[in-house]
Symmetry: C2
Subunit: 147 residues, 2 copies
DNA sequence: CCTTAAATGAAAACTGATTCTGTTTATCAC
DNA sequence: GTGATAAACAGAATCAGTTTTCATTTAAGG
C-alpha cells in the first residue's frame, strides 16, 4: 500500500519523501477529513520534529495534483481528505463526525450538465459540497460534537 | 430604496443603523461581489472613521439573515454580494471581473433534487458555486485581472 | 424625552497560512 | 556504492484576514 503511494507521487513529479508518504497513509487511514493541524499532530508522533509549513506545502502539492481533495467547513477552515475514486467528485460531508461520503446521485450526469452547461462564459471550476449530519450522527444528535 | 432596506432590517430584528443601510446600498449598487475591505473603503468615504470590525460584524448579521450571500474565491478569501431574488440560490461568478450572474439552469429543479435527495443523513446546507470567466472577460482574456 | 439593548470605535489579540534562510535528503547519473 | 543537484525540510519570523474586548454611542420603543 505504501508502494502504491510511491507510484502516485512519481506520477505527479513529486519526490516520494517519507513525510509525503506518511501524509497519504494518514489520510488513507481516515474515513473523514482532517485539518492541517490534525495531520501535523499525527505526523509528529512518527517523526518527532516536523514543521507545520511542511504539512501545508505538501497538502498544497497533493491537492494540486488531485490526489487529495478539500472541504470548506462551515467554520471556514479548510480540511483535506484522500480522493478514492477520481471519476466521482461530489461528496456529502458530516460536519459532526467529519466523515466524507460519496453521494449516489440519481442524476450525476444531469448535475454535471447543469453545472457546466447553459453558461455563456467559461467554467473553470466549481464547488459542490453538501454539508449535513450523517445517518449515524443523526441518531445521536444530542451528543454530536460541536461545530 | 433606502426605506426598502429599512424594512428588511426590521424583519431581521437588526437595528437599521445608517451604516447597515449604507452597506446594503453599496452592495446593491455593485453588480458583483466585494471583499469586506472593499466595502470598508467605500464606507469610509461616507463616514470618515469606521472600524473594520463593524463591517465584519454587519456582514455576519446580514449573511445570517440571508440578505446577502457569499462566495469563496479561488484565492480563498470570502466575498459578499446582495441576494436579489431569494428563490434562486445558484450563481456563476466571474473570478476576473467579480460579476455574479444568475445561472439559468435548464434543470434547476433536478439539481436541487440531486443535491438534497438520495442522502441517508440530514442535509443542513450546501455550497454550489461555479467559477469561471464571464463572456465579457473571455473576450479580453489576455488582459483579465489577476486572481 | 428617556430608557435600554444593540451597535460602534479603537486597540489588541488570534489564527490559519506563508515566506525566508540555511540545512538536509531523495533521486539519478556515474 | 558514490557524488552531484535539485527538491524538501525545520524553525523562526511574518502576514493578512478576522475576531475579541471594553468603554462609549446610538437607534428603537415606551
Amino acid at each position: 500500500m505504501g508502494q502504491d503511494f510511491y507510484q502516485i507521487l512519481r506520477g505527479l513529479r513529486l519526490k516520494a519523501t517519507p513525510k509525503r508518504i506518511a501524509m497519504l497513509e494518514i489520510l488513507d487511514a481516515e474515513r473523514g477529513y482532517l485539518s492541517p493541524e490534525d495531520i501535523w499532530k499525527r505526523m509528529r508522533k512518527q517523526f518527532g520534529r516536523l514543521g507545520l509549513p511542511t504539512v501545508y506545502r505538501n497538502l498544497e502539492g497533493l491537492y494540486g495534483g488531485g490526489v487529495i481533495s478539500r472541504v470548506i467547513h462551515p467554520n471556514r477552515q479548510l480540511y483535506y481528505y484522500l480522493c478514492r475514486n477520481e471519476e466521482h467528485h461530489h461528496h456529502f460531508i458530516c460536519i459532526s463526525c467529519r466523515r466524507v461520503e460519496d453521494v449516489n446521485f440519481c442524476a450525476e450526469k444531469e448535475l454535471q450538465d447543469a453545472v457546466t452547461g447553459g453558461i455563456k462564459g467559461k467554467v473553470l471550476s466549481h464547488i459542490l459540497q453538501i454539508n449535513g449530519l450523517c445517518f449515524t450522527c443523526l441518531q445521536k444528535e444530542g451528543t454530536a460534537r460541536a461545530y
